[in-house]
């Protein structure tokens, strides 16, 4: 077995204590929730924290409420299996429930948290490897090295955002509540991201994600998540598609959003999706035509790179297929789109 480097573990019971610990230890400290991303990464020598600030004992992070106005409040520490199985989430934010239910495998969903999923490190076939392997390669830009193996001569890391819930939260226009040394701040999840594979989140080292707030859904809200992966379980997305449709009384689409993940360093919105779908009836030939047009637009916009394992040309070919299937699934309430 790979060895886990020795670290100290601090166990705060409040968010304030956790923040204080991060401030006290600075760069050498990292928060840890379920550890399902961080611990393997530490075994690979990708992160070398000396202090782990364990969030598992903080009650506030377990908040899980549907407020009367329809706002869904999900503490960062809520496990993915609870989100996936929760009837309120399934009803108000189906794409999120579906995405959470397709993360990794059952054991990992039990340990893994929503906060950890939003904060997931980017992934790359040249990076998520052991120290021996990376050393034999000569390392890469993202950790310990000076070159990128994905883009020849590239000066920027293009490791892929690989968190399944992130694109669904974007389509749901969620906001994130962070607490750091200067108090709490709310950020629209759209504004969290950098297009930089090394650090794809705008975040201070003293900040903790406290909760995710999903605003009240529109009447006629429909959502779905589509996930492309090799196996029917365990695997990270090779492509993730989150779709939202707001369908009016007359059956026409009034609002739409489409966000893809596992392509680039950040989740990407398909810009023309709303434009092509709004005003179109949510079923029938017109809808199918509009969906096909969105699929083409997504294809034109998406350029998967050989960052994560798997044939990237095939991943590109799958963009329109999964976009179309996910939009249809959203319209008919038959998500998720997944091959098993």
């Amino acid at each position: 077995m790979l060895r886990l480097p020795k670290t100290r573990v601090a166990k705060p019971t409040t968010v304030a204590q956790a923040v204080a610990l991060l401030v006290e230890h600075g760069e050498v400290a990292m928060p840890i929730a379920g550890g399902t991303d961080l611990l393997p990464n530490m075994k690979h020598g990708l992160f070398e924290p000396e202090v782990l600030v364990a969030l598992g004992g903080i009650k506030e992070l377990q908040r899980f409420e549907l407020q009367t106005d329809g706002t869904l409040i999900l503490g960062a520490g809520v496990s993915l299996d609870r989100i996936a199985a929760d009837e309120r989430v399934q009803r108000t934010a189906p794409a999120l429930a579906q995405a959470a239910g397709l993360v990794a495998g059952p054991q990992l969903r039990r340990m893994g948290t929503l906060g950890g999923n939003v904060m997931l490190d980017t992934r790359c076939q040249w990076y998520n490897q052991t120290h021996f392997w990376r050393q034999a390669l000569g390392y890469c830009l993202k950790k310990d090295g000076t070159v990128c193996h994905v883009v020849a001569g590239g000066k920027k890391c293009v490791a892929a955002a690989s968190n399944d819930t992130a694109p669904t939260l974007m389509t749901l226009q969620a906001t994130l509540v962070f607490e750091g040394r200067s108090g709490r701040r709310e950020v629209a999840i759209d504004d969290l991201w950098h297009t930089d594979g090394i650090h794809n989140k705008k975040l201070g080292t003293d900040e903790i994600l406290v909760e995710v707030r999903v605003p009240p859904r529109a009447t006629g809200h429909r959502g779905a998540y589509g996930k492309l992966r090799e196996r029917g379980s365990i695997d990270y997305p090779m492509l993730g598609v989150a779709a939202r449709l707001d369908v009016g009384r007359d059956g026409a689409v009034e609002g739409a959003d489409l966000v893809l993940v596992a392509l680039q360093a950040r989740p990407v919105r398909v810009r023309r999706a709303a434009e092509l779908l709004i005003g179109v009836p949510s079923s029938g030939d017109n809808f199918a035509e509009a969906v096909a047009a969105v699929a083409e637009a997504a294809y034109a916009q998406a350029h998967p790179m050989p960052n994560i394992p798997g044939d990237h040309e095939w991943r590109r070919e799958m963009v329109p297929v999964y976009v179309a299937r996910t939009l249809h699934a959203a319209a008919t309430g038959t998500g998720p789109v997944h091959h098993v």
Partner: protein
């Protein structure tokens, strides 16, 4: 059975076989079996399920040190020097060893000793072993590895066997005595009959190129070994191995110790599949480190290291040309095969022969030629994986058979029936075939899959495919030449009523210990709970050659019957004498002994054993098995010669998503002729496990080396073995042909049922969408490309697809 003109090298008469090796197919008492044929739980089933089983890594010895191995970061390099002084100076480090400490080369095949326990002058792949450290704990050992300084002269490397052939000046194994050898590891060319003429005479000749990509075993338990040297100098090695005997021999050779001073023990094993059938660096390293430090030493490999140890299935490029007549009879087969061996020989000599030798049944072709070349490359060494050497050619040939059937407008099952070789016959390359239940296998899969009603008639996108195969039940090629038995058994029986069986056989999860128990219980009429099996301990157990070539049930099973029958005669004789009745009136079964003609005269087995112990003194017996003389009368003719062959047929039901290229496997019907199912539950388990493994390497698993010579993803996240949700319904259909020489008629069941899975998928895809897949793996990306090339499904969007993604 149709009499057929045999055109092989030589018709052979009755083969001579020692009486001890032939036991008939019937039950020892009466006409019914007591234990054999029942679904008995495995001897270690409960211990494994409850976590009580002791695996090698569970062993903790007082004062035990932990060892780690330094590996080469270069695919090909000369070692100029190694400086271990800084590592040795690290507190907590007890010893550091390098290749110089164990300079003698070894190899599991004695003719090709090209491995060093730790590299001596050169490293040949990324991950090759260079030095080993023993320290107080694993972290200290790892820290010490980073302090070892190795000065390498990096050499050009080969990752492609064609390049390795084309550029022999970059030679991976230097052969000053044979300068022309280049990077050829082994070349075999054999011809039986006039193939060229036979292809001339055919009505249709088909030619095709096929490819197998390479896969690995991925057993759940990583390799692990613990060594201890007793104060009087006896070395004990516990190792997760499937070949205690060969490890024993290799240790003696490399460490220059007498075999009698070494004891090798295989604890409970968490899977092997051929990946633990070579001696490995860790076994030599812990032994040497234990000798140097005087402390017990353990080494457990990481999952990544298991991928470097590899010995997995060889990538092969296969070219087949076959001829058929209008009446559906094959005339000849011509094969040319290029085998990528990776960096060392391992079993490669045998692999090269097997790539041709094992194709000659159950379908008969009167002429045959194969020309196989195994080439060294700077990649992890390939070796034997379940279905050693024959899964790849079987894939190619069974797909070509499907093409031939189409060419002569025959149903593919019918084609196979028409060309069936028959039973009690010989193959074109001179192998003796005894029982042959292949027709029964075809009938079973045809019936169970609804073949007649459904094949060719399912909606577009869904299809059925068939394939067949044959495999050995052990081989008479004993790896090192000797006249001693291939399998030995010892049984102790005493007044407690317990029989203890000592077998050198390696139970690697396939259930060989359970088979031993069943046979002893059957022969001695004992309750299986009163039989204990002690296995794979070279101090305690008679020699068995190990768990490979599907030999254990057949050979150890026969040896067990041999020993148990000797004991049985002692017991029945003693009881008969005491009761003054003829011996054949004594019945033993399930813990009871009685007079067949007077049922009121009955005692327990324990009482009967006591009568025997009183009459004959301490009870014990040994038993042995050796194969009869087998094989074609030509060089290499014994490689692949088996005392019995198993036969398999699969039908796979597949659905192709033409938009994504993904193949959804719905059903796999596996019919397998195992001779007799000694334990149908274990046989079905082997059949399902085999089919699973074959399907896995067809559609998911890729053992790939990237452009840097690095394993593309040495982890169970990136090397994708199917999960339960990815596995189709597997239907095990047992066919029994009762082999005259198998134990109670049994043959192998652990490897044969893997073979047809791969070609059956390809053939099902053809039925589903009319596209032939000749190159493995059938990943969705590859399938989508094939569909588009054939104009099936939606067209590609971009006019130009950039060639060859950077990997």
């Amino acid at each position: 059975m149709d009499a057929r003109l045999f055109e092989g090298p030589r018709e052979r008469g009755i083969t001579l076989m020692a009486a001890r090796d032939q036991h008939g197919v019937g039950a020892p008492f009466g006409d019914r079996f007591q234990v054999v044929g029942r679904a008995e739980r495995k001897v270690d089933g409960l211990a494994k399920a409850t976590g009580q089983a002791v695996y090698t890594d569970d062993i903790q010895l007082p004062g035990m040190l932990h060892a780690k191995i330094l590996r080469s970061p270069h695919a090909h390099a000369r070692i100029r020097s190694i400086d271990t002084s800084k590592a040795l100076a690290l507190p907590g480090v007890h010893a550091v060893i390098t290749g110089r400490d164990m300079p003698i080369k070894y190899g599991v095949i004695p003719w090709t000793p090209d491995e060093n326990a730790l590299a001596l002058e050169k490293v040949r792949f990324i991950g090759d072993e260079v030095a080993a450290v023993a320290a107080l704990d694993e972290d200290t050992a790892n820290a010490a590895l980073r302090l070892i300084e190795v000065d390498y002269e990096v050499l050009p490397a080969h990752f492609d066997p064609k390049d390795a052939l084309a550029k022999p000046e970059v030679q991976i194994h230097e052969t000053p005595e044979k300068p022309d050898r280049g990077n050829v590891s082994k070349h075999v060319r054999l011809e039986f009959g006039d193939v060229d003429q036979a292809l001339e005479d055919a009505d249709v000749v088909l030619e095709g190129h096929y490819r197998f990509h390479g896969s690995t075993h991925a057993p759940i338990e990583p390799h692990c070994a613990v060594a201890q040297v007793s104060p009087d100098g006896v070395l004990t090695l516990w190792s997760a191995t499937q070949i205690t005997h060969y490890v024993h021999r290799a240790l003696a050779r490399v460490l220059e110790l007498k075999e009698s001073r070494i004891r090798v023990i295989q604890p409970c094993l968490g899977g092997a599949f051929g990946g633990k059938s070579d001696p490995f660096a860790l076994e030599f390293a812990v032994a040497k480190l234990a000798m140097v430090t005087g402390r017990p030493v353990k080494m457990l490999w990481t999952r990544e290291e298991v991928f470097y140890a590899h010995r997995g299935r060889h990538p092969m490029q296969l070219h087949y040309r076959s001829g058929i007549r209008r009446d559906g009879k094959l005339t000849g087969v011509d094969a040319k095969i290029l085998i990528d061996g990776g960096s060392y020989s391992s079993f490669g000599l045998v692999t090269t022969y097997y790539s041709g030798q094992l194709l000659t049944g159950p379908v008969h072709f009167p002429t045959y030629r194969f020309d196989s070349t195994r080439v060294f490359t700077n990649k992890p060494p390939c070796g034997p994986k379940r279905g050693h050497g024959s899964v790849q050619p079987r894939f190619a040939f069974e797909v070509q058979l499907d093409e031939l059937a189409e060419a002569v407008a025959l149903d593919p099952i019918e084609l196979r029936r028409r060309n069936w070789q028959g039973e009690h016959t010989h193959t074109v390359n001179g192998q003796r075939i005894t029982s042959n239940g292949f027709l029964g296998c075809l009938d079973e899969v045809e019936r169970a899959s609804g073949w007649r009603e459904r094949r060719g008639k399912l909606p577009f996108g869904r299809g059925l495919g068939v394939a067949g195969s044959m495999y050995i039940s052990g081989t008479n090629y004993a790896i090192y030449p000797n006249d001693m038995p291939q399998a030995g058994i010892q049984i102790k029986l005493d007044r407690s009523g317990l029989a203890t069986v000592f077998t050198g056989g390696n139970d690697i999860g396939q259930g060989s210990n359970s088979v031993c128990r069943a046979i002893v219980a059957e022969e001695l009429g004992l309750d299986p709970d009163d039989v204990r099996v002690v296995a794979a301990d070279t101090d305690l157990c008679p020699v068995d050659l190990g768990a490979y070539s599907s030999r254990v049930t057949f050979m150890v099973g026969n040896a067990t019957i041999d020993a148990a029958r000797k004991l049985r005669r002692l017991v029945t004789g003693a009881v008969a004498k005491k009761w003054s009745v003829p011996e054949n009136r004594i019945f033993m079964g399930r813990g009871e002994v009685f007079d067949l003609e007077d049922r009121s005269r009955a005692i327990t087995s324990r009482e009967a054993i006591q009568i025997a112990e009183a009459l004959h003194d301490t009870l014990g017996a040994t038993g042995s098995y050796n194969t009869p003389k087998l094989g074609g009368d030509y060089r290499g003719g014994t490689i692949g010669a088996s005392p019995a062959y198993s036969f398999t047929a699969h039908v796979v039901e597949a659905e192709v998503d033409v938009e994504t290229g993904r193949i959804h496997l719905h059903n796999c019907w596996v019919a397998h002729d195992c001779g007799r199912a000694l334990n149908p539950m274990l046989v079905a388990g082997q059949m399902e496990g085999s089919a699973y493994m074959g399907l896995a390497e067809a559609v998911m698993e890729v053992h790939d080396i990237n452009r840097f010579g690095l394993h593309a993803g040495p982890s169970l996240l990136d090397y994708r073995i199917p999960t339960s949700v990815d596995t189709p319904e597997l239907h095990a259909l047992i066919v029994e042909s009762l082999d005259p020489e198998g134990p109670y008629g049994a043959k192998e069941a652990g490897e044969g049922p893997l073979h047809p899975a791969l070609p059956a998928i390809s053939n099902a895809v053809y039925d589903a969408v009319g596209v032939r897949l000749r190159e493995l793996p059938f990943t969705p990306a590859a399938v989508l490309r094939a569909l588009r090339a054939a104009g099936v499904g939606p067209k590609a969007r971009a006019a130009q697809q950039p060639e060859g993604a950077r990997r």
